[in-house]
């Protein structure tokens, strides 16, 4: 060996990856079976063998900023063939969680979201907030009407329905909570992506994984439309041998969220453009999207939970937090509607209250939780496509 490389291990990084579910990391003896077993690894510099050695040597920069970790869909084919039980699939998943925390700011919040003991406080914040919002809506309507009237806007979105969510927590207050939260998340993602994309390019240059010398953001963005259909079709998932069923479950959840998003956009338009307040008629297309979306989310998440419980693969807090959040989001959404249709005012508002807390989790904590993968994975896959990674 003529090249001398001084390895400067980041021991903290190793510990963190181990803590995030990559505890089998050190069993790897670099036989490289995994890179062959992986149905989606490229021919040149395939993963996950090189990630395994980089991670166990604490070479954080080689993996955290690599687009490759986002190409892996954790199908588990590598872990099945691994002769050492080193579970490369789980290790890559742990590295991705690390990367999410790495790119998310503020770091403190990122640490809290991945820390089981902080779940209470993270839930208490929205719980207190929405309790306050409910008190304002239910007991200080008169005052609010005066304040809003000052700006020439009506406080109450009028509806004749006996049970309306807006009577419990005003739509104004709901939106005044979530619109800024969503905006903040977008900003956090934007800042994270900016650093991540630069890192991905630098890593690709070092490891010879790109044919582009300079990073052209415009060209990169133009690649996004070629990646989206792949994601919608779950092409990578379907190449997996070991965990094929997970592809379908994941697709259900993804489409469920898309359906709920469409429903939200329609509802927003109806409220703010047409001036019609909810609850809307059951035959309104918005209901189709919302209901179908909710059902898909619950079913898909249930399938994924079943899958995880049945497998001996390691599932940590990051996995259960996300799956729990997803299934509860769907379930409380659907239950709120059912309680309302059943005529239970208390039931409706109680479940709706829980639903709001969960939506808060979704919006406020998304850049820090495993769910952030939907942004980073698109970025990773887009970069690989752009870089002609084959």
């Amino acid at each position: 060996m003529s090249d001398n490389t001084l390895v400067n291990p980041n021991l903290e990084f190793i510990d963190e990856v181990v803590g995030l579910g990559g505890d089998s990391l050190k069993k790897c003896f670099q036989c490289a079976s995994c890179s062959v077993a992986c149905p989606i690894a490229p021919e040149d510099s395939p993963f996950p063998r090189k990630e395994m050695i980089a991670a166990s040597w604490g070479l954080k920069d080689r993996v955290v900023g690599s687009a490759d970790i986002w190409l892996c869909h954790e199908c588990g084919d590598c872990s099945t063939l691994c002769p050492r039980g080193a579970q490369p699939g789980d290790v890559l998943s742990a590295i991705r969680s690390y990367a999410i925390s790495e790119y998310a700011r503020p770091k403190k919040l990122a640490k809290m979201v991945t820390d089981k003991s902080k779940l209470g406080i993270l839930t208490a914040i929205p719980a207190a907030w929405f309790a306050l919002m409910a008190i304002i809506t239910m007991f200080f309507g008169g005052t609010m009407e005066k304040i809003f009237g000052f700006f020439g806007v009506h406080w109450i979105h009028h509806t004749d329905a006996p049970i309306a969510h807006a009577n419990f927590v005003s739509t104004w207050l709901v939106d005044a909570t979530f619109v800024p939260l969503a905006t903040a998340s977008v900003v956090i993602f934007y800042l994270g992506l900016k650093r991540m994309i630069n890192d991905m390019h630098e890593n690709a240059l070092t490891e010879g994984k790109t044919d582009k010398q300079d990073l052209d953001i415009k060209e990169l963005l133009k690649t996004v439309p070629t990646v989206i259909p792949k994601i919608l079709k779950h092409q990578q998932f379907n190449e997996c041998g070991e965990n094929k069923s997970r592809g379908t479950a994941h697709m259900m959840v993804l489409y469920g969220f898309v359906g709920c998003f469409i429903a939200t956009v329609i509802a927003g338009s109806l409220l703010y453009l047409a001036g019609t307040a909810g609850p809307y008629s059951q035959i309104n297309p918005l209901k189709w999207f919302g209901n179908l979306g909710g059902i898909l989310i619950v079913l898909g998440a249930a399938l994924m939970i079943k899958d995880r419980l049945g497998k001996d693969k390691s599932s940590g807090y990051k996995d259960w937090y996300l799956l729990g959040l997803v299934i509860l989001l769907g379930a409380t959404g659907l239950l709120t509607e059912m309680a309302r249709l059943a005529g239970s005012t208390f039931g409706t508002y109680l479940v709706y209250y829980l639903h709001l807390i969960l939506v808060f989790h979704l919006f406020a904590y998304v850049p820090f939780s495993k769910l952030a993968h939907f942004v980073y994975r698109i970025a990773g896959m887009t970069y690989a496509e752009y870089a002609n990674r084959k």
Partner: protein, 423 residues
């Protein structure tokens, strides 16, 4: 030597297994003056070593050393050999064991002169186990040209017509179909288990395609082919068309160092593949040989030297990366897929012949006798020297080469003697 007659009712030491380790323990103990009963499951002595073409690293034939050992056994009246015999159970305590033995019928008695008339007369054939089923042998046969004892064997599957033909052909009254399985008991002070190993069943390594593609063979199959007493009389040929291979790929750690198969290193496979490369180089000067490995293990100075020499060979290539996938290519060739962990590129190489370097599985791992033995999870005997009495040696104890097996077998002879004399 006393052979194939009823063993004495008692002796000092029982050695189970007549491979190189068992032969060594037997000889070392007997030549020190102790009475030894040696039982062997097969119809002949020599075990796995008898299947080998050459020893590494000297590349000399094992038959040479075996011949000397057989001679020593023959000359020693303290050794009692019983072939086709297995241990059913061992009862008692160190210094005082009662061992139940089961002997399968050979259907040939000690009158046999080894003339081969029975085999000539016999028409039916059976799979040749010594050659891993690559060829067939007559149902009345001599297992190996230098089988010891040099007595023919008749398969239990022989047809009644062939029985008649054999009986008529034998001029010495050596054929006896009235023989049946017999059970005997012997009393001994100590038992040494030299039960050895078997090649790991390559069909279980699903991703390496053995059994699906004809031109994927195991290292032990290649060893038999390379041997002048093997199925191809020493020529290494592709099974599909009996053609000389122009390119050969060796897949190291085929099943070994793998938690899904054998979790341990089988110790000999790296050296065996290096040795096989020399066979191929000698037979086919243009043949290109590629060895795919995780890390090449050539322990000790002499093995290291052997490896260094092959590294200099311009027709022998080494790729660091385990073959994890195989598929059939044109002309019955086989394509192997690996990641070259040095260059970080996936390699797809098509070769005429692929050899799986399968490892060793202890024979007792699948059929444990009723005896007070301790096994590890892989089925190797864990020796308890505090308790004493019974000892595992050679590859029954750990994966080992012939040299280490013999050293270990000599040590166990001493341990057995210590038990006999009450320490």
């Amino acid at each position: 030597m006393t052979i194939d007659k009823a063993a004495p009712a008692s002796a000092s030491i029982l050695v189970v297994g007549g491979g190189i380790s068992g032969l060594t323990t037997t000889l070392e103990a007997a030549e020190t003056g102790y009475e030894v009963i040696l039982v062997e499951k097969n119809a002949y002595l020599g075990g796995r070593v008898l299947q080998l073409n050459q020893y590494f690293p000297k590349l000399c034939p094992p038959t040479c050393g075996l011949e000397i050992n057989f001679r020593r056994i023959k000359d020693n009246p303290a050794i009692h050999v019983q072939t086709m015999t297995e241990v059913v159970k061992v009862e008692g305590t160190p210094g005082n064991y009662e061992v139940t033995l089961k002997t399968r019928p050979r259907f040939v008695n000690s009158n046999c002169t080894g003339c081969g008339a029975c085999a000539d007369a016999c028409e039916g054939e059976i799979e040749n186990e010594l050659n891993f089923g690559m060829d067939r042998t007559k149902a009345a046969y001599l297992p190996h040209p230098m089988a010891f004892p040099a007595t023919y064997v008749i398969s239990e599957y022989i047809s009644s017509d062939d029985k008649k033909r054999c009986e008529e052909a034998c001029k010495y009254g050596a054929i006896d179909f009235s023989m049946t399985e017999t059970t005997t008991t012997v009393k001994v002070a100590s038992v040494v288990w030299a039960t050895g190993w078997k090649p790991y069943d390559a069909t279980r390594i699903d991703n390496l395609g053995f059994g699906r593609h004809q031109n994927i063979i195991t290292n032990m199959m290649l060893e038999r082919m390379a041997s002048s007493t093997g199925p191809t009389e020493g020529k290494i040929l592709r099974p599909s068309d009996n053609a000389a291979p122009k390119s050969v790929v060796f897949v190291q750690c085929a099943g070994s160092r793998d938690e899904n198969h054998l979790p341990y290193c089988s110790y000999i496979c790296c050296m065996a593949s290096l040795k096989h490369a020399t066979y191929l180089r000698a037979q086919y000067p243009d043949c290109e040989i590629t060895i795919y490995y995780i890390d090449l293990r050539a322990p000790g100075q002499r093995y290291e030297k052997f490896y260094e020499k092959l590294k200099q060979d311009e027709k022998v290539f080494f790729v660091k990366g385990k073959v994890a996938e195989v598929s059939e290519a044109d002309n019955a060739c086989v394509t192997v897929v690996a990641e070259n962990a040095v260059t970080g590129k996936k390699v797809r190489q098509t070769a005429d012949l692929v050899v799986l370097a399968t490892g060793m599985q202890p024979s007792l791992s699948t059929e444990k006798p009723q005896a007070d033995l301790t096994f590890n999870d892989s089925g190797f005997i864990v020796n308890d020297f505090e308790k004493g009495g019974m000892f595992g040696c050679g590859c029954a104890n750990k994966p080992a080469d012939v040299v280490s097996s013999n050293q270990n077998a000599t040590g166990m002879a001493l341990k057995a003697i210590q038990t006999v004399v009450g320490r």
